[in-house]
Amino acid sequence: MNKRRLALTIALTCVGLLLLGSFTAPERLSPVSGAEYALPMEAPPFGADARGRSLLGYALQGAQIVAGPAFLAAVLVGLLATLGGLLRCAGSERLVTIVNGFREVVGALPRMVVILVVALLTPPEWRGLGVLAVFWAILAAPGAIDEASAVASRIGGANFVEALRAHGFTRPRIYLYHIVALNLRPVIVRHASETLMQVVFLEVALSYLALASDEPSFTHLESFHSWADLLYMGYTSLILDVPTMHALLLGLGLVGVTAVLSVSVTASARAR
């Protein structure tokens, strides 16, 4: 099996796990008496928390919180990067100038500052990771647009399109196959998968900080549990000697799976 196929297999497995988790997440986590602080071998597969609730439920609910918004953000960044590359090939100087201006303005402030201001200003009924993920994607888009545009310039931009037109190819084939699928694909996929990972980590970070402050998170409903809950349980095991180290390992494992997903998706789309 070559490296790209291996990466694609790993990527599909990780995406499958994330989607499976999000679709099978329980509505509520029910405590089981006698299973408090159960280790993975006592309450398979991942053990239980201080109230005997299965850690598998935490993992599934966390997957449900992040899956939709993270994929939405990834698709949005991918589309904007594609647009950036195609605009360069279309040879529209005015549009390129507008995109550059957008990039300068959007890139002028730290992303997290914008995200927190958005979180503050979002009406309570709209609050959730979805809105934040869309804004994160908009903030991440300039880098993707810039790189896609640079790739399009390297292959010749408008001259490349004209050359292929002279060979008799149709415009849809040139733009969608030759430019997007063959040349822009690695850049688009890399930025999309990085954004996916960043949105998952953003949710974990915001939920962790909310937990540490003993406040409800603005990324999900109070009845749901994020992967940050697992990390927080792990933190208490480190400083208070509570027997929840298995929760920390599960939390770190989920963070690892997210990182592997991003890396493998990128590797599977790498140019030949």
């Binding site: 300068e104 303005v105 890139g107 002028a108 402030l109 730290p110 992303r111 997290m112 500052v113 927190l116 201001v117 979180a119 503050l120 200003l121 009406p123 980590f201 974990v204 970070a205 962790y208 900080l209 909310a210 540490a212 402050s213 406040e215 940050a228 990390l231 792990g234 933190y235 480190l238 400083i239 770190l252 963070v255 990182a259 991003s262 890396v263």
Partner: protein, 311 residues
């Protein structure tokens, strides 16, 4: 034809506008939301006497009146009092404590980035180490922050908020910021690729044949790009500082912004977001000024070559 001064001047213009634009946008967004701003900021079910509070916070006269009054006070260093996080405490005092901590955290976290970038561009750092940096950079800041917080708690216990502990928090926070979220990997590979591409230029080879050094020739041409990279990395660090300050409980701009957002303290968020805008504007102005300096320097060069004298 594009003028060389256009882009730096645009950057300086944006830098001047940014601290004015950020509070303006936030203010108008608050008024654009459905409902009364005073009720959004302080819902009647949480705060009693919303009308009275609206009058006190200057929210009863529309966005323009609020913005102009807030800006007029802000330029004199008066940001009002915290509404919820530390009720009644002057925000200017909080910012006075927070800004040095955030600046120190960012400067310390830039140290490894600059050192490793310089080492990689000079060829002292093997590209074979890149996968290691990239793997380390895959871990999010919150995970490293969690470990750092645990280390501080276990080391200092009840003394975790003393001056010594704050110094350790800053150092660990800077280390975390420097390596997490791909900061170090990006700095190393980004700087190396810039220098590698420039070294391949024909003029560098000619300069070396003339007996000049490689660095003195490449650096002026790369200075603008390096300044751009430095600004991007500093913005990245500022973004991460929000998380690290909150996790490690460092009283910085990011921590106050986080607490203000969580507690819906509009006054504190407005002031801290403006603080971040000022820092971002300073970075943008620095990049613009450096670009102007480099452009003037390149236009004066080569300063030491006189064809007439040589002839």
């Amino acid at each position: 034809m594009k003028q060389w001064w256009l882009q730096p001047m645009v950057r300086i213009g944006v830098a001047l506008a940014l601290p004015l634009a950020v509070p303006l946008i936030i203010t108008y967004l608050i008024w654009a939301l459905p409902g009364d701003p005073a009720s959004i900021i302080c819902p009647p079910e949480l705060c009693g006497g919303t009308e009275e509070l609206a009058k006190r916070w200057n929210l009863d006269g529309g966005p323009y009146q609020f913005y102009t009054a807030w800006m007029a006070n802000a330029v004199t260093g008066e940001f009002g009092n915290s509404w919820r996080v530390l009720q009644g405490v002057p925000i200017a005092g909080l910012l006075g404590t927070a800004l040095p901590n955030t600046v120190m955290l960012i400067l310390l976290s830039l140290v490894p980035l600059v050192v490793f970038s310089a080492a990689s561009s000079a060829g002292w750092l093997s590209p074979r180490l890149d996968p290691l940096f990239q793997t380390i950079g895959l871990v999010p800041a919150v995970v490293y922050g969690l470990v750092a917080a645990a280390v501080i708690q276990l080391t200092f216990g009840a003394d975790a908020f003393t001056e010594d502990a704050l110094r350790i928090r800053l150092l660990l926070g800077a280390l975390v910021l420097g390596v997490a979220d791909g900061a170090l990997a990006g700095a190393v590979t980004g700087t190396r690729s810039l220098f590698d591409a420039e070294r391949k230029q024909r003029y560098v080879g000619v300069a070396i044949l003339r007996g000049e050094t490689e660095l003195s020739n490449t650096l002026p041409n790369l200075a603008s790009a390096l300044a751009g990279q430095l600004r991007a990395r500093t913005l990245h660090l500022l973004s991460g500082a929000v998380i690290i300050e909150a996790v490690l409980q460092i009283d910085g701009l990011g921590d106050f912004l986080w607490r203000g957002t969580l507690k819906q303290d509009f006054g504190l968020v407005l002031a801290t977001a403006t603080g971040f805008a000022v820092v971002s504007a300073a970075l943008l102005a620095f990049q613009g000024l450096l670009e102007i300096f480099v452009a003037l320097h390149v236009r004066r060069s080569p300063a030491q070559v006189s064809i007439e004298e040589a002839a």
